[in-house]
Amino acid sequence: MTENVADSTNIPATREEHRQSLRSVLRHYMFAADHKTIGKQYFFLSLLAVFTAIALSWLMRFHLAWPMARLPWFAKVAPNAAPSGIMTPEYYLSLLTIHGTIMVFFVLTTAPISGFGTYLLPLQVGAPEMAFPSLTRLGFWITCASFVVLLSTFFVPDGPPISGWTAYPPLSALGSDSGPGEALGQTLWIVSLGLFCVGQVLTAINFITTTLDLRAKGMTLARLPITVWTWFVTAVMMLIGFPVLFAAALMLLLDRLGGTNFFVPTGLVVSDTLQHHAGGEPLLWQHLFWFFGHPEVYIAILPALGIISLILPAFARKPLLGEHTMTGCTIAIGTLSFLVWGHHMFVSGMNPFSAMTFSLPTLIITLPSAIAGLLLIGTLYGAKMRFKTAGLFCVAFISVFVTGGLTGFFLAQPSLDSYLHATYFVVGHFHFVMGVAAIFGIFAATYFWFPKMFGRMMSERLGQLHFWPTFIGVYCIFMPMYFLGFAGNVRRYAQFSDDYLLPLMPVHKFITVAALVTGAFQLVFLWNLIWSAVRGERAADNPWGATTLEWSTSSPPAPGNFDVSVVVYRNANAYGPTDDGRDFRAQSEPTGASAISARSGRSRE
């Protein structure tokens, strides 16, 4: 079986051909799968990852609320982690580390861009396939390998690392002297990260090339859907950021195993042992990591912003307000995100003057973010909004994006950050923008594109049952974290034993209960996915009446995506009453048939 995926004649066109033999099926999924299959594979990987990470967070939150409670089943599953069912402090830190790593990398970097982007980018630009199908496959399997290596840290003798997803040296550089999990666990974590970086760079190359080179006839850059723009900007950010993380990870690995001294200075005494390292600089890691790390969080949110900006108009039945401005905002955010990394390091010991030079661009970046939020709110004005589940997640996104984004004003100012740094205020802030807003983007994308991907509609009733408790629940979980932050509650604590933290325990218990309940309702989403994939109502080509190119082909699209070469006549924003009584015009619909009515305002073609 050859790898000629671009030439569609070799793709098994019928189910019978698929079932020929298990070996040929495996070979297909490993070596010959097209971008749509790989997009779905990424989606399922993210699904597995997010439920794993949610389970870890349940354990964490339960321990924080009831640190001395015994969980007998836990003792059986992980006797080292929880002797007699009570979690040890180092295991809490291990859970924290793996939870963060999984969520940032395998959920928020994988689902919105590698998952939905791989599936939709060729469709939305009108191409039959990605530019480099082998890179798509390679990227996916490397990401899978990275995930497996990460999970393997749970099975090594000393357990997973305890240094957080940020892995600051010397804690992460000195091996078992600095703590449990810092031996093989930390090494495997670094290897996992290195693999992930490679996978993402390959994905980025693929995305950029596809967007620039494989656009269909008539698809000018100005007519690209907003999602394609955000994936493009994100891919450029990935191309610049991930190699820096790779370099930093390699340097850390060499410090641990190769006798180098990038990050470890002279004269450290750890566990009564004088360390041999000399001449390194811990702040170097922080600069390298956050130079990647800050763009990374925008890599997590920008695709979601693009997705919401695409889906909201489809349910509002009117164009996105200021589409080109929105594109400009994403480019501005992407560019500025490389200038602000030092705001994670205000109190890190770097020159205090640098704090001021990082604070200004951090404050400035709130401007395009604010404009983006206002454009979304303004899109809702004058709409006839269908509040289906995907639409509800769109408006909920706006709300949580505002809540999370506004608290950035506090953290962007060094003099306030000196109080709020490393408190639950930061935890609330990044969970709102990443753990809620970006996830809502993924939810909206799932409810919206599930019919296209699986050929069936998701249950609207289960969707509503998922949405409402989730929306209330996330506010119950993360808004109190701001209160805790103002009270000075430090983060990454396995337990709250300080005098001033004891009165805050009721807040923590409230958060824990909210987290357990909200997490449980995500099972409704999972059930909806499973049930709908098997029993859902069959989907038409364009059940939502949306304009982008994927809706002008079948659900799911055939191999090669489009029956004939598609031609594009307008941008993706053509919502509004038409002269012939419809309320939208697809991108591929020829002009002249019926113009968008002048009353609906601007929808420049």
Partner: protein
Amino acid sequence: MGKLFGILLTAITLASAAIFAAHIWWMPGNISAQGAAVDRLMRDTLAGTGFLFLVAQLLLAVFAWQFGEHRNGTVSNFPGGPRPLIVLAVLVVGIEIAAFTFLGSKVWASVYMRAAQTGELAIDVQAEQFAFYFRYAGPDGKFGALHPDLINEATNNFFGLDPANDSAARDDIVSGTLAVPVNRPVLLTLHPQDVGHSFYVPELRIQQDFVPGLIIPVRFTAVRTGRYEIVCTQLCGLGHYSMRAYLEVMQPDEFDAWLKANQAK
């Protein structure tokens, strides 16, 4: 559904804003001479962002209520298109950016870029897994040199002093409590023994990481007596959560008595 969303969002917004405004969970009382400026800035930022929070969320709630599928009328665009919103954002957010930058940098400099003060009390602070130790220079006013290879927890030689050969080290006072006299400028020199740690006293509004290989100065003047907690905020290992010490701000005569009681013979 839109109406339900509007109601829910309004309830959440008003409840959250009320809790913030009422300071139900809030910063503990300030004890630092520079802290009042930080508190003012915090209050102003809360007011500014709180205003934006209320406006944005309530506007969203109203629009969700108002512009549902089954309302009368046809689809209409935002009056003026995106331009009024952009102008509004640039003006409002721009003013906030300018204000916070100029005001904020003054406050930051007043805490973290302070010059040496006359009569300041120098205290050497060492953080390690998982304790803080504080060293006073003793009657000779000089700190002994530190030798990492001499560190010996068994004999309480946490700093690695060499009193046998180093006369300046002989009278150094080591304590697990940071005692300072009230209203006197203090200079802390932070250095860690092993990995990264951080020094945080919420009441002082000061947080500063310990960076291995660096000696980092922190200056403050405590203006209220009392006992306050110093906690570690930089993940340093399994004991991170239990790593703490007390800051005891005392009257000058009490402080002198404390020093004497802790002094090596």
